[in-house]
Symmetry: C4
Subunit: 215 residues, 4 copies
């Protein structure tokens, strides 16, 4: 009897995509709430305002890093959802776990921005990235196992999706391990990896035209 409900619940990829876009949009925009404008009482000249803004630099760097992280995982999730013909209740719940990790990200970011030199803060941040990657990897395993993937998706696409998550998580783990030398090395390495993922694809753009749109 109970399975009737489970068969009909949570089958819409569109709604899942819409909720995901909403959660990402709020998480991306909430981050900036932690960057407070300097207090008026403490500012008496252009120069002191300039110094106050400059002192927000580290905060802004961590914020930009998180924006890139969320952007990377938004693109990653979108890529999966674009290839799904439908979803089901269990796959929906895996994506809800993924969104839970997304919603925690502003907290991890504030923690790291406030305690940039603390290994615990950096490892918490990394655990959050790991949770994002693990849930996204697991969701693809389940999507392929449940035959919800569109029939015209070639096998090498599936392999590429899994490989991409695996390699990225390996690099993030290496970056996190660098915190035992210095947390700034970790942050620098992770930012470099993310810039690589965000910027690199633009280079081989010339070869892309011959591929038909996947959607």
């Amino acid at each position: 009897m109970k399975s009737t409900y489970n068969l009909i619940a949570g089958t819409s990829v569109e709604r899942l995509a819409a909720l995901s876009d909403g959660v990402f949009a709020v998480a991306l925009t909430l981050l900036v709430l932690d960057i407070h404008a300097p207090a008026s009482a403490a500012i008496h000249s252009e120069q002191s305002l300039w110094l106050a803004i400059v002192s927000l630099g580290p905060h802004l760097l961590v914020y930009a890093m998180t924006f890139m992280t969320l952007g990377i995982f938004w693109v990653g999730q979108q890529t999966q959802l674009n290839h799904l013909a439908r979803t089901d209740r269990s796959l929906t719940w895996i994506h809800l776990s993924f969104l839970f990790s997304v919603s925690i990200m502003p907290f991890s970011t504030t923690l790291l921005a406030s305690f940039t030199t603390y290994r615990i803060a950096l490892l918490t941040y990394w655990l959050n990235i790991l949770a994002l990657g693990a849930t996204l990897f697991f969701s693809w395993i389940c999507a392929t196992g449940s035959a919800h993937v569109k029939p015209d998706v070639p096998p090498h696409v599936s392999a590429a999706i899994k490989r991409r998550i695996f390699i990225a998580q390996g690099l993030y783990a290496f970056g996190a391990a660098l915190c035992f030398i210095d947390t700034y090395w970790s942050i620098g390495f992770i930012v470099a990896v993310q810039l690589g993922y965000a910027v690199a694809p633009r280079l081989p753009r010339l070869h892309r035209r011959e591929v038909p749109p996947s959607r």
Copy 2:
């Protein structure tokens, strides 16, 4: 004269779904704003930061519980909307009442996280869950009564939707009643119920393939 407006107002299921996804996305993400990073002034070592993070544990547990609650009701509402051919003004308003209960959830959650051992806090939280269930149950009654349900929805689906809400609310009420022994029993029981709803459907996945997508 007045009824002309009522006949044309609020007829779009897509817009209702979009507003709902937005409200859920904001509510899910706002929750984390209550988990404050520890104050820098109080932290002087890795160990004290670790203890400060660990002390956030209960907050995080209540937060995760609410995330699951909202996830369950998001799936529940989506399941209903997927089966609607259209809506009307009165059905739209029932769903707006449902969204009102959703928007109150961050408040109930903060209250419970701040006063975990207080029965009043737990009963407030439960009343919020009850309001979610009652409005969702009522919306399905009205949808079937107004003939807005898609014609190809078989009767046992309708029965399954109603039964699911009924059983879940019974379990929640039992969990809430446990607070007269101890509020932690209530929280533990409710979390267990929710994990059951979120995780259990994955087990019988093998039987699902033969069912055609409902949308």
Copy 3:
């Protein structure tokens, strides 16, 4: 030259609807951020927590009133957009003005909730409602004037949309004027009007089935 851009800009009703749903969703959910859970330090018994929650009553009432206001105007805007075949840049900007009034609503609500007995607070709140109604009325005038309304919309629908806004604003203005007797009379009257709009349409539901869906 300049007009080329104006001819191609802002033509998508879908995107306007999506932005509107987002703004409404955030405004509806942000309201609750002003209802603060009581401070832990001040609470030492179930009874004091109960009294603290009860004392939030007026806040919650004003919050619920605003939720209804926003719900009414969301339904109103949706009704207009459902009848549009397309939009243009100027009509889009009128709707952006409407969304500006929506985004101010949480401020007006907090003001009224904090200063319930002050006429200035109530009149500010009413001015906000007036701005919502005026922009929505103006947008329909422009939509019909620019021939963006779908060709199959009968004239009496257009008249019903305009009359509805006119009558509602008349009632709101009367309610606001009552503040010169007592602001609670105003709040009570406005809540009654809104309940009328939200609940009343359910009564003549039986006659509705014969009308084909407008979308």
Copy 4:
């Protein structure tokens, strides 16, 4: 190997539009969180409340200016996306950079509202507008270079999109430069430019009907 993932990732214009609408909706609505209602303790008469609200005037003006800025860029981005047949990973990342600038806007606004007479605050605000324009300009260059624009878009549309951004940024830069005379001249000039963009298109509405909808 790596390029397989890049070929399939980030190809959905719809999801990009949905994320953008979400980020804009949150940014537009978050702005108002900085306009705090006056503290109850300081208000003892209608007149003192009136003066407290009036003193929020400059804040509200800067807020309205930012709302217009975001509205202009939302229309501008929408216009581009409406003309795209698809996107790819690199174009998606340019739009994510654009959304990053959008998400910073509430911070720049608060800074300017708190330090209205400071040139540094005004130049920070202008840099934010410059970043919005630069990323939007760059995204159109890449979209046309990657042949993602719909085939039926005539060349003069592409020229109009680029010219529009160019002229607007020239006017903004001139307005920003006025801050070396007085920051209020800058604010006044920028508001005037924005009102021009928002209101002007309504004037030649009569000529618009003969143009078929672009979507």
